[in-house]
Symmetry: C2
Subunit: 428 residues, 2 copies
């Protein structure tokens, strides 16, 4: 039997072992990751592996082994000194803080090479950034860009960084569901392979999000901290309850427009997105500052008070916007793009209020379904604009939200979907 | 959202629910089976479903619901009166009792329309029967044949009998592993949809078989009895320990040759296969006789003593062989075929003993791997002939087994495989 066949046999045995609830050692886990990374396992067996972690999950040590194997079966990037990164766990529609946090942190002088994923649900940061500039870049080009402007926002699946992850994500997409353990492995392997040393993880939880309960968020936090420690990474995990989407636009173009408006400090920018971004940037700067020179620490304290003040200043004074323009330019986009130039699809439908009432809640899962029905993320200009949000009063015939699509077929699908899966809950 | 999309969404939700270890109701299970049966679920989601039962298994009620849904989402066959059937749980190489039991029971006067599967591992009964006659027949033709000669041996996957089962088996094939629960569902749904009323289930267990431990065999037995009762089917489950393959040939042609030799009562026939077949046929006849006329009961008692005697007589006097010829002829094969005409592949390699010793054990799993490496079941003439079996003494340079393949490449693969995964354990 050839070496390749033996490897595959070992991976197969390991998958079967895990499926019946047993614990795997590093050799077994490596054999699975290696087969996946080399694209030899095939879709069915990859799915069996993806499924094997759902019911009983993985031990902490298995989580570590999986993350390690996912890194080791791909390439790694190396940068000098502090390398910052942030990640928000998905499920919150419109949560495009990355496009704001990255330029703030880069403007503060830290390296923040950001690799993002394509959407598992409605839109990923990579899908959004692609509106502004190419996100599929070579390893060499990324190293050049980061050296020049401190940051990049690229798609992580282009070259061989934790290659098994994207292959597994492909089978998870069909299920529209990622296990908590897989979320950790996926995030941490990408971060570590990308050379990150200081990482902020944002875990929003709430009724219709990926993480529903505080208890689950706390379990995730502990596991993230465990993995970070194993790899000697500084980490801060922020847990907060969220009941509604961030910003008003859902779908690549609409989300990117929201983020640009915050960077431009446009008067009608979404303030919730701004506040969330400053909070995350402040926390990430604080984590990085702890390992910086005493001189820098004193400078920040004297001038800005604290890191939140620092982040706020960089945003308010347009320094973050200029940094974003540098990043866009280096990645090959047009640095002079304005939020006002980003327009959603031509096929439009306004959802009107049937009576006077108050929006009690927005169902994020159904909002995601709606955006998908409209064509997002494949159709970049398709999506939903929330004219009204939670807690807002509405009168009969007010527009509650606007559906946009690149074509008529998807607009019709969207109209049907919002009837079947209501997005808004009302109080009389 | 269209009705089809809602159905798919329901199935998706049910799969996710089961993956995280929750129990499903009939509506949820039906939605999954319906999507699979209509070939709308796709390979990845079907695999997630197949995987969902591995770790925590299903409750008895879920097992019943799964079996029922698998039947209801396909066609059913109806026959009058007693309809016999038998099934041996796989993993025992060469266990081709079906080709012997079916003609015995049919010769006794009971209906036994047998639907068999293709191989999940080395060879299925359908693969073997195909050596003798076509096994892909229409529903109408099957009804005609059974009416005329009491029996048939066909492939169950041709028409719409429990269609979800074959689709699930296709994803399980890649894993080379079926869960115990899935075995029960798969067997019982096919039997019930095929109109069976009296069923014998044979559960061999042993170190290198599908069922390794007596405890597991007993759990399976209880579950089989539960499902049978729910559907008002008479069942007898036979558990027995087995340490080695049945017969000497492994692979479609070699196994079929073994079975024909028993029917022909050839002097050098494999006696273990004969004894096993008579035991199963005897048990099945006994189950059927219980619900037969008092006249028949008395006749059997007076002439044959008991049902084992009855089965033995039908085999020894060539009545079963004649019945098999009728079946072969009706299915479109050549009824005059002789075992001596069945010859394995031209590429041959004899494995010789390196010293005098005794065969302590045969590893069924490795024997299966070996037969696959040689090209079985795709190559019907490929396989292994066991010149020596467990407990037999061998002298240096004796042929222990013979590898056959239809081509040189697979013969070489086979030679490598037997070195890596030894089939025989020796005592000095």
């Amino acid at each position: 039997m050839s070496k390749e066949k033996i490897n595959k046999q070992n991976a197969l045995n390991a998958i079967r072992k895990k499926l019946i609830g047993k614990t795997l050692n590093y050799k077994e886990i490596y054999s699975i990751m290696d087969e996946i990374a080399k694209q030899r396992l095939g879709q069915v067996l990859t799915t069996y592996f993806a499924a094997s972690g759902y019911s009983q999950g993985f031990t902490n040590q298995e989580l570590y082994f999986l993350t390690k194997a996912m890194i080791e079966t791909g390439e790694k990037l190396h940068f000098k000194g502090i390398v910052a990164d942030k990640h928000s766990i998905g499920g919150v529609p419109g949560n495009r803080t990355t496009l704001i946090v990255v330029p703030i942190v880069a403007a503060a002088g830290f390296l923040i090479p950001k690799s993002s994923s394509r959407a598992i649900t409605t839109s990923g940061t990579a899908d959004d950034m692609e509106i502004l500039a190419p996100v599929v870049l070579s390893k060499e080009r990324i190293l050049q860009i980061v050296e020049k402007v401190n940051a990049c926002i690229v798609w992580g699946g282009n070259f061989n960084i934790a290659p098994a992850d994207d292959i597994i994500i492909n089978v998870e997409k069909e299920l529209m569901f990622e296990s908590f353990d897989k979320i950790i492995i996926s995030i941490m392997s990408k971060k570590i392979a990308f050379g990150s040393t200081h990482v902020v993880i944002d875990i929003p939880y709430g009724n219709t999000l990926k993480v529903e309960h505080l208890k689950d968020a706390e379990i995730l936090k502990t596991k993230f901290e465990y993995i970070a420690k194993k790899f000697n990474i500084k980490i801060k995990v922020i847990i907060h309850r969220t009941d509604q989407p961030v910003g008003r636009g859902i779908g690549p173009v609409l989300e990117t427009k929201d983020a640009l408006m915050v960077l431009e400090q446009a008067p009608d920018r979404p303030f919730d997105l701004e506040v969330r971004s400053i909070t995350l940037a402040g926390n990430l700067l604080e984590l990085c500052l702890k390992d910086s020179s005493e001189k820098l620490k004193k400078h920040v304290k004297d001038i800005y008070g604290d890191c939140t003040g620092w982040a706020t200043k960089l945003l308010k004074e347009g320094i973050a916007l200029n940094k974003m323009k540098e990043i866009i330019s280096e990645q090959g986009g047009d640095p002079n793009i304005k939020s006002s130039q980003l327009n959603p699809g031509k096929h439009v439908f306004e959802v009107k209020a049937e009576r006077n009432c108050l929006i009690r809640e927005i169902n994020s899962k159904n909002l995601t379904l709606l955006a998908r029905a409209l064509g997002a993320p494949g159709q970049k200009k398709s999506g939903v604009y929330l004219n009204k949000k939670e807690g807002e009063k509405i009168e009969k015939d007010d527009t509650i939200c606007t559906l946009y699509s690149e074509n008529m077929y998807n607009l019709t699908e969207g109209k049907k979907t919002i009837k079947e899966f209501p997005v808004f809950g009302f109080n009389e």
